[in-house]
Symmetry: C6
């Protein structure tokens, strides 16, 4: 693992809004790809492949959904306390 | 990521009913596809592919189920308090 | 999304029994398929395909399991209070 | 859905032990297969297929794990109270 | 299902440490494979197949992760009380 | 299972930060691969395969997301108490 990749931007799961939580989920899921395939050239080659493949897009969606579940719980679902 | 795509419509996970929570789950899962494949023409081409493929339809269902779990928890399962 | 499809029958996750909760999980997972592929003729063609495919049947089982987890939590696992 | 199939044996998620909870998870996951493919002859034909396929066996394991998570939570993990 | 297979070694999810919890997750996931494919000879034939297949190894990892989530919750994450 | 492989580095799920929790999730998911395929030479051969395959990279991301959910809960999402 390339230790220089930041895996959790800001080092916190807490976000101001649900929208930002969702953006964080996307970023965190992409950073796992980055740390697993550190070569940017390879990642650039893979992007059009999964972005044009229905099954892979659905799988991306599943991953983001799982990340978001954790972030949403961390933020108590952005409910006023 | 195209920052102009709204990922959580209304910027809240709270909905009035379970039915609306389910609709939100579907929308949120589709918005991840949209942000991952921003080209509407490509998405239009992919839609009939996954909508006619049993395995992909099942995978869509799994994604929605995961999104819905988060939304349902956020709404305390729409139980009266 | 065809807005005319009811996604949560009865608009509630609450059921009298675990058995009924399980039936609801099956129905809710099928309604996602329905809303994603609104053409009944296509769905009818797909049914024998996934019902005769071991891998797809297992995937159906995973989807129902995820839906059921949410419904079971909503019902406090049908435990007497 | 064949309404005559019992989906939750005993109509309860509560079991005396973790071992029995695990057995229930297996049974419940198989009953979803049964209700999705009601033809016993077809199911019998599919069994040797998935039982001899490494990827499908792993997928069966994932399904049981998800079902078990719900059952274990329902039983408070079989911890003395 | 071969009723003679023990599905939860020790019939408890409680372990002394996180490390032992992880070992239990691996064992429990393997026991589901065993009960689904009771023929040891077939399982022996399948082992080198999934152990040499990147996609299957990743899927094994997903299954263990799901089992471990349950075990970790059962043990309150091995935190001192 | 090769009993000599440490499955949970430090034998704890508790980490100082979310970033370290994410690193632990990656390590723990890789250690399951290691224990399932103990031959380092085989693992080295598999690494470029999954690191260059979009679908497998996405699956790696799903596994890490599931592991991280457990670690994040164990750490109460790294929120000040």
């Amino acid at each position: 693992m390339s230790e220089s990749v930041t895996l959790v931007p800001g080092n916190t799961l807490i976000t101001a809004t649900a929208e930002e939580g969702r953006q964080l989920a996307i970023k965190m899921s992409r950073l796992i790809i980055k740390v697993t395939q550190p070569d940017a050239a390879v990642r650039e080659k893979l992007r059009p492949i999964y972005a044009s493949d229905a099954a892979m897009l659905i799988a991306v969606g599943q991953t983001v959904a799982i990340e978001f579940a954790t972030i949403a719980a961390a933020n108590n679902y952005w409910k006023a306390i």
